[in-house]
């Protein structure tokens, strides 16, 4: 397996990173990855320094020095792990199919949009419409969340460290100690992330989005 590290160069335009998934980059050389087209007149080499470690146990991609200009990171990922050391733009982990995506910084709008499976863990703050139209999976946010959180969300879990603004289409289900969180937190322990430090099983549970299916939940961790 390969662990690919993409160190972002300073950019003056937005960069669509949807082609840079662990499964897509497996087995590719530095030159092959560098030549991947991200837009009509933009290749990976223009915006990233590329390095490849072929001795990795798991399929992984690490983004470094990214900013809000880097959009669609992890879009449609099906396996492996992406770590973003820095901020990320809009649509981080959108349509995530499986795997783990960790971002240490702040992210743009529509993080986890239409996500179906897997874990998207954001250590910073999110923009608006976080978890919009999410179908399933787990999306964690340690920072704050923007407006229209979980808009149209069908199923899945938003695990939050901070209580979000109240919304008419999300229903307060009260405070609970949920045993499954122990298993979830155990899986976090394997990750190099601040999420590994969470231990409280006590949460406030909200269900929504009642404008739609209403089977999704927001869990706000209680200290």
């Amino acid at each position: 397996m390969s662990h690919i590290t993409l160190t972002a160069k300073a950019v003056s335009r937005s960069v669509d990173c949807r082609a840079l998934l662990p499964e897509a980059l497996q087995g590719k050389t530095v030159a092959e990855i560098a030549s991947i087209k991200l837009a009509a007149n933009l290749s990976v080499a223009d915006v990233f320094e590329v390095s490849v470690d072929t001795a990795s146990e798991a399929a992984a991609v690490t983004f470094k020095n990214t900013t809000s200009a880097h959009q669609y990171i992890g879009f449609g990922m099906t396996t492996g792990q992406i770590s973003v050391t820095g901020d990320a733009g809009d649509f981080l982990g959108a349509q995530l199919q499986n795997g783990v995506l960790i971002c240490t910084g702040n992210v743009g709008a529509r993080a986890g949009d239409r996500m179906r499976r897997g874990m998207l863990l954001i250590e910073g703050n999110t923009g608006d419409y976080c978890g919009s139209d999410m179908m399933a999976g787990t999306l964690g946010v340690l920072g704050t969340t923007g407006a229209h959180l979980g808009y149209g969300m069908k199923r899945g879990t938003l695990l939050l460290a901070h209580r979000p603004a109240e919304q008419a289409t999300w229903v307060d289900c009260g405070f609970h100690k949920l045993p499954f969180l122990n298993i979830l937190y155990k899986s976090f322990k394997r990750l190099d992330s601040r999420f590994a430090q969470i231990s409280s099983q006590r949460v406030q549970r909200w269900m929504g989005d009642m404008g739609g299916l209403g089977k999704a939940e927001i869990l706000v961790i209680q200290s």
Partner: protein
Amino acid sequence: MVINGVEIDDTFAEAFNMRGTRILITAQNLRWAYNAANAMTGFATSVIGCGVEAGIERELTEDETPDGRPGLSVLMFAMGSKVLMQQLETRMGQCILTCPTAAAFAGIESEDMISLGKHLRFFGDGYQVSKQIPDANGKLKRYWRIPVMDGEFLTEETTGMVRAIGGGNFLVLGASQAQVLTACEAAIDAMRKLPNVIMPFPGGVVRSGSKVGSKYPKMFASTNDAFCPTLKGVVKSELDPRVESVMEIVVNGLTFEDIAVSMKAGIEAACSLGKDNGILRISAGNYGGKLGQHHFKLRPILSGEVSA
């Protein structure tokens, strides 16, 4: 062969192929884990009348359970996969789902995965929640969270089903009922320390060993008269005049080696009381070797030969 004055018969226990599974049951504390596990393994002494044979294998520490709570590991055996699946689902629904704070997880990996909470989830009436969470090896496991009155019932979707063996056994023959029971208790204490086996009868011991057939046409099995001490003069008895009581320990396990090792430990523990404490003979139950696929020969097993 004689151990501590106790004669070891030159005979064998006859055992059968079975299907087995392991379930890990956790709860808020061991008291409630036992409440759940005792219910689940209750009325599971013999496949003849109970469908499955089940028992508690051992206690689990918080580090050994998926959800970090105290728990118990339960083994369950049946003659076929269909019965095992049916019984597991029924017992999950009636014994684990109902027990406050209890949760159930897969205790064994196999290519054959059978339903643990897969169908039980519908009890949630649409409010059940599926969560796929990677285990310590990164392998995704599916769990079901089912809303119940005490909070949430958590169960893994499936557990593994493996080929197993049931019906390993030995008989303890002694001078009195009390002495034989004491020897059997010592044997069970020793056998319960070993992994991958359960002794499904009450307290691990069975007093009503059976033979195939009966004078009554509708009965498939009847009392093992050759080992009944009160019939010594009436039937073709296996017992000499000194024997006043016989008890049997039946052991089911995941492999031949597991059963052989546990039989050795149990027999040695029973024999440790010795002839002076009224333990006279160790024998084993079989059907002439024609029915069961596995023969556990007492003397080779006690000599340390455990392979099939």
